[in-house]
Amino acid sequence: MPGQSIPDHLKISPFLVLYMVMSMQIGIGVLGYQRLIVLTAGNDAWISVLITGGCIHIIIWMIYKIAETVNGDLVSAHVYIAGNFVGKLLSSFFIIYYFIYSLTVQRSYLEVIQVWMFPTMNIFWFTLAYMLLCIYIIYGGVRTVIGIAFFGIVLPAYLFPVFGFSLQLAEFNHLLPIWNNSLKDILIGSYKMSLTFIGFEVVLFFYPFIKEPQKSKKWAHLAILLTTFLYTSIMIITITYFSRDLLSRSVWATLTMWKIVNFPFVERFEYIGIATWSLVILPNVCMSIWISSRLLKRIFNLQQKKGVIIMAAATLIAINFLPTRAEVSLLNDITGQIGFVFNFIYIPLLLVVVMIVKKVKKR
């Protein structure tokens, strides 16, 4: 298959999959996912998080199964089941998906900046600078993209212990009684939680670039385990920290929790947190642009260098059409829903079809 043989020195070590998956999952959602879940699942929201985390382990297993069977990425899988033309047609949908994904992340972060830091921040100029940085990163190849993912996890890690400040004011009675809400509510919460969890499917696109992909499996699962732990612990801290009515009004609960943090040398921590968060969302944007440009290359044989510039330019133009919060949240919903359908419905379906085709081909 064209473009499938990747020289060994351009591949990434299997354990870097941990950072790849984690940094794609952790993004803009963490800043305010709690409200949506608590609105449906109440004080049992953390159970919803755990349920979703558990489900994702199954999906990751499926993703590896698909990738192993076709020995390649999603495009290979599509070509495998539906032939060259239809397969590529199917795959081209994901160019749009990842384009929207990067757009959503970028715009939502700008929304945060506009509300919390600089109300007069110019969307266009900031996006331009950000896109140039992304192009610079992606031009460095997969190793650089994953490198940014690595630093996007390691450097902002100091933000996690900071939640300890919120624990000082925690009211653990908020968590009781457990199973206060009906299973249905908790499951709806899980569904909403899946929007924050998506991103692990990047494995399906980076698969050909992983050295000894067999070994990377455990790292992918560990990544899911860690994000589940992270989301659950933040959720528990949030529930104990806020009263329910206050939480249902807090759009960015995580940011609100940082407001209580105070060090002798920093009075208000949330500004540092928001600034650091640009390092967290950078791999999100980079990886999704990388994927869409890679897909352009695989499907239309377009040079990836050009593809990256096209995607960046498209983001730069499209982001101007989303001026207010209403549009941003609409976009967020759409992305979440597509992501849900893709990850939790399409991938299992794909696995079934791939397995059937495999059997047929064997005969």
Partner: protein, 498 residues
């Protein structure tokens, strides 16, 4: 046939005259004829008087030539007590040899043969203690400008047959000798080949120092970061060669290059290996902290004072506001003014003779600093910050890295002015990306941070004790990973046992 022979003879005469003509223009060109006392054979010596050692000629060459049995050119090998005597028929090398300090000896009877006798004048500076990488503990020798002397200093420390020295001549005009050193059987062949290939690809007319080589063979010449480590300490070179890296010694330069290198290596001083591992780890961490401090503190000042007043602790707010009350400039200009002043002081101090330089430093530091605060041009808080940042930038053991850090402060300042803290993080991301993309001889520059290699962390931010250093760095992909057998080194003793 005869015509052809004649023509050839003419040709040789012609070319002989050619080099003679070219060299004759210089006043130091000397040509004199003597007669051997035993066989009465006249012979002619040609040399450049500035390049040869007169003493050697007068004591070690001429007496033997005059008194020895000289009948044909071949005889001089017997009578001249010098190892470097060469007889050649190739007249194209004559000018090169003469210009390298050889004497050309010709006998009229054998016009097609030339003898060269080495009589180079070696002007060697005596060994002095290292000035840039001075250390209180450890050897007090530094490299000098002579290639031979420098190689001697290294060989002396690694007297094993595995140490390979390969010499190249670079520069169409300067004809600089460059030696590549590596340990056979330890250093990765691929790395050695990369270095050799890069050196062979150098096309430049005059290479006067090793820093030329740095810029000519580095992976990314558009990067502000130095990608080859240069050192003036022979002990460091030998230590690093043993680790499996490659050294490049350039004639005429007291700095030896080491490659491949990593970012972290620029923050380690070789003294770290002389101290106890706890102390050296502590100092290394301090150095890394100092670099981050130096890089970020002024930009943070600008960002916080221009945009994020909320961040300032309430008790500090009064001090900051009061110190800025009288100042007409916005924080960015204030900071740029002071940063540039410090740069000016450094530049002036570096260009002036040592004693005057020191005076300038004191005058600049104290007088200008105090005066500008009193005049209301800068705030005293910023003065402290900038001075501290400058101080911190001088803690990097490698001078070139210190320069880079001082330069990088300015883009960070601009970014801070643009978007405050966000701008600083943004600039940091750019720097990070650049560092991730950077390679040194094809090896990742940011190793062992990225790609993360836990085993290589043993000698990075911290330096673990030598017994943990039994393996060579993974970065180098050495052919022999073990430095020593860990089992043999391990001695287990119980309490009160011997």
């Amino acid at each position: 046939m005869k015509r052809w022979l004649n023509k050839k003879q003419n040709d040789s005469k012609q070319s002989k005259e050619n080099w003679e003509k070219a060299l004759e223009k210089s006043n130091d060109f000397t040509q004199s004829t003597y007669i051997n006392q035993k066989s009465n054979v006249p012979f002619c010596l040609t040399f450049m008087s500035t390049l040869v050692d007169e003493q050697i000629i007068q004591q070690g060459v001429l007496p033997y030539l005059l008194e020895g049995e000289l009948n044909k050119l071949e005889d001089i090998k017997k009578i001249v007590p010098s190892a470097d005597v060469e007889i050649s028929t190739d007249h194209t090398v004559i000018d090169k040899k003469i210009l390298n300090g050889y004497i050309l000896l010709t006998i009229d009877t054998e016009p097609e043969h030339f003898a060269f006798i080495a009589t180079q004048k070696e002007i060697v500076r005596s060994l002095s203690p290292p000035e840039i990488e001075f250390s209180v503990i450890g050897p007090k020798e530094a490299f000098v400008e002579s290639l031979g002397q420098n190689l001697n200093l290294i060989r002396k420390r690694l007297p094993v047959k595995e140490l390979i020295i390969e010499e190249y001549t670079l520069g169409s005009l300067s004809q600089t000798k460059v030696a590549v050193l590596y340990m056979h059987g330890i250093t990765n062949e691929e790395n050695v080949n990369t270095v050799k290939q890069r050196i062979n690809e150098v096309h430049f007319d005059a290479i006067t120092d090793s820093s030329y080589i740095v810029q000519l063979i580095c992976d990314n010449s558009n990067s502000p970061f130095p990608q080859l480590l240069d050192t003036e300490r022979p002990d460091r070179v030998s230590g690093i060669l043993a680790e499996g890296k490659i050294a490049i010694v350039v004639d005429g330069s007291p700095h030896v290059l080491i490659t491949p290198t990593t970012l972290i290596e620029f923050f380690s001083s070789f003294e770290d290996y002389f101290l106890n591992w706890i102390l050296s780890s502590f100092f290394r961490l301090i150095r890394v902290g100092a670099v981050l401090f130096s890089l970020l503190i002024t930009p943070i000042y600008v960002a916080v004072l221009s945009y994020h007043y909320e961040l300032i602790p309430r008790d500090l707010l009064g001090t900051l506001v009061a110190s800025r009350r009288q100042i007409p400039l916005p924080p960015i200009l204030e900071a740029l003014f002071l940063e540039l002043t410090i740069e000016l002081l450094r530049e002036a101090g570096a260009r002036l003779p040592t004693k005057v330089g020191q005076t300038i430093g004191i005058v600049g530091g104290i007088v200008i600093g105090t005066a500008s605060v009193e005049a209301g041009l800068t705030s005293n808080v910023l003065l402290i910050i900038v001075a501290l940042a400058a101080l911190a930038s001088f803690t990097t053991p490698v001078y070139k890295m210190g320069n880079t850090i001082r330069l990088l402060r300015f883009p960070f300042l601009l970014a801070a002015e643009l978007w405050g803290l966000l701008g600083i993080v943004f600039a940091f991301c750019i720097m990070l990306t650049h560092l991730i993309r950077l390679t040194s001889m094809g090896r990742p520059f940011l190793e062992p941070i990225y790609p993360p290699r836990v085993t290589d962390l043993k000698d990075s931010f911290i330096r673990l004790p030598f017994r943990f250093q039994s393996k060579r760095p993974m970065l180098l992909r050495t052919e022999k990973r073990e430095r020593f057998s860990k089992k043999k080194a391990k001695i287990k003793k119980d309490i009160d046992e011997e």
